[in-house]
Amino acid sequence: MNSTRIARRFQDLAAKGQKGFVAYITAGDPGFAETLAISHALEAAGVDILELGIPFSDPLADGPTIQAASGRALAAGMTVRRALELVRAFRDKSELPLVLFTYLNPIYSYGFEKFLTDATAAGADGLLILDLPPEEAGQNAELVAAGGLDPIRLIAPTTPPSRMATISATGRGFIYYVSREGVTGEQTSLSDTIAARVAELRQHTALPIAVGFGISTPEQSAAVAHDADAVVVGSAIVRRIAENATAPDLAQRIGDFVRPLVQAAHSA
């Protein structure tokens, strides 16, 4: 499956000797049009992969920043259906790889198989479901993945080495290594186990490894990019969106904030 947008992006980065940058934002925060504009601004700022969160009422793996963003997006009328319209609108104007990031229940209600079909048709490239371990995907007939989306798998600091291989074998696109135990959110210092854990993970997978959770500054971005294939930043961006939600130049401000983070990753 080397033909997906995600795989091609990592091949291009590798050819240039660069590390990648993944930016997370919540779909519909603060509104549909704003998310679309921010997505294009992120691409202009050099982001390699856009991770678009579909909001859920009970985001138990998220810290306060993304919880609040989910609440705002839902209050503004975001739904799974609208999120797919957003993907389609973005895809009309861009070839940037796009990963959907969410919890199982909204997709389950939509219809799992129908979601995979519709999200693929809308132009999404990957899907990360925080509370769907690969084991359950295999044990529930209605959750069997099919279609064109790359399943993005999470590996945590608590994942035993024996499990790294089995999880990675079910993934495509890249592996998302969660850099520390905890929920999403900005941290003043990085976990000191990232380099060792990423090196260990490489023994179990040939997929590119993106590292996220807690990264918010260009220094941290550069440090993580040194060991990983890509850096993921979410809460730090989402917080700027909240702080500038009513600014007429919101998208440009977010692009300006993200550019140095991207450059730090690209030049690491």
């Binding site: 009970d58 799974v80 389950y108």
Partner: protein, 401 residues
């Protein structure tokens, strides 16, 4: 499928038919597996079983009586009503059965910190109690709305040395408290055991919590056989997550002539946002670790719930109950706030027993069905908790009428 097969569930992956499982973020997966291993080894260890029975007897006050509610029986003029007196247990509810079991497991795993969610505060109090008894640090997450309506239990937890953390997100009730407890667990998973308080969540919790509460049904079965020399016709228990109900029902599953009814919270009636009866207007979904019936809108967003009883005010139901319902082995009905309050009053006045508002839902069901049953028939109602915690709230509601 026969009831005999049912009693051997869940399967190795924690599934009760299509329900249950382990729908958690990856960070928690290995902690669940550790807990599964520890519990499997403890179950086979006579030392564990001895410690558990000894604490249940001497610290908690088991066995609890099976009490013939003679005046209530006469008042209703139908089936004989027995009450399984879990309200007489230490800390005032069945919750301590599970808290003690998990505390011993926690000690075996070498963890020194426990966390819990609580709705009515009974599980929080039970957890704070065992934490004090075992010397664990204890943090209890509780919705800010519940802290207000169950202030007495908040004070008890604090006296027991627990830190009670108010949760203000969303509706600020039990579901949000579970979210916050899971976030704590994800963050502190290496040092902390999550004493989940109901037969809910990811495997092995629904199975383990059931096993720790089956003592209720085991005792009740023995007691009724001794007293009446026959099995009961009907078991009734309230169902929030469903721990006291599964505890009573489980040992009777193979007794095909024993009917069972689980009673959900009907709140102000079955309309969106006004109740917590998942089998009325709910749908299949995944929440907080389990695939189960829950109250959500068509976009999969979890709906607001309402019940006069904080312990039943929850959007999802334990996975084993879904399966028992599919099999037709257990019927599920609901009692409204008004019916529960009336039952609260009736039991207090006629039997001299003030029930918890949760348990009052089960009493309400008995009041509903007993008169139409024959005087030779027997009902056992699980009186899962006592009502001291609810007196202020009930007084306010009943006096305002």
């Amino acid at each position: 499928m026969s009831a005999e097969t049912t009693a051997s569930l869940p399967d190795a992956h924690g599934h009760f038919g299509p329900y249950g499982g382990k729908f958690v973020p990856e960070t928690l997966f290995s902690a669940l597996e550790e807990l599964e291993r520890e519990y499997a080894s403890a179950r086979k260890d006579p030392g564990f079983r001895r410690e558990l029975s000894s604490l249940l007897a001497d610290f908690c006050g088991r066995a609890t009586p099976l009490y013939f509610a003679e005046r209530l029986t006469r008042h209703l003029g139908g089936a004989k009503i027995y009450l399984k007196r879990e309200d007489l247990l230490h800390t005032g509810a069945h919750k301590i059965n599970n808290a003690v079991g998990q505390a011993i497991l926690c000690q075996r795993m070498g963890k020194k910190r426990v966390i819990a969610e609580t709705g009515a505060g009974q599980h929080g109090v039970a957890t704070a109690t065992v934490a004090a008894r075992f010397g664990f640090e204890c943090v209890v997450y509780m919705g800010a709305v519940d802290m207000k309506r169950q202030a007495l239990n908040v004070a008890r937890m604090e006296f027991l040395g627990a830190k009670v953390v108010p949760v203000t997100a969303g509706q600020a009730t039990l579901k949000e408290a579970v979210n916050e407890a899971m976030r704590d667990w994800v963050t502190n998973v290496r040092s902390t055991h999550y004493i989940l308080g109901t037969a809910y969540g990811a495997h092995p919790y629904p199975m383990m919590v059931r096993d720790f509460h089956r003592v209720i049904g085991d005792e009740a079965r023995r007691q009724i056989l001794q007293r009446e020399e026959r099995l009961p016709d009907l078991l009734i228990a309230c169902v929030g997550g469903g721990s006291n109900a599964i505890g009573l029902f489980y040992p009777f599953l193979k007794d095909e002539n024993v009917k069972m009814t689980g009673v959900e919270a009907g709140g102000e009636g079955i309309s969106k946002g006004k109740h917590a009866a998942r089998f009325q207007g709910g749908r299949l979904g995944v929440l907080q670790g389990a695939k189960t019936w829950l109250l959500a809108d068509e976009d999969g967003q979890i709906e607001a719930t309402h019940s006069v009883s904080a312990g039943l005010d929850y959007a999802a139901v334990g996975p084993e109950h879904c399966y028992l319902r599919d099999l037709g082995r257990v019927q599920y009905d609901y009692a409204t706030d008004a019916q529960a309050l009336a039952a609260f009053r009736t039991l207090s006045e006629i039997e001299g027993i003030i029930p918890a508002l949760e348990s009052a839902h089960a009493v309400a069901q008995a009041i509903k069905v007993a008169p139409a049953m024959g005087s030779d028939e027997i009902i056992i109602v699980n009186l899962s908790g006592r009502g001291d915690k609810d007196v202020a709230q009930a007084a306010e509601m009943l006096l305002n009428k």
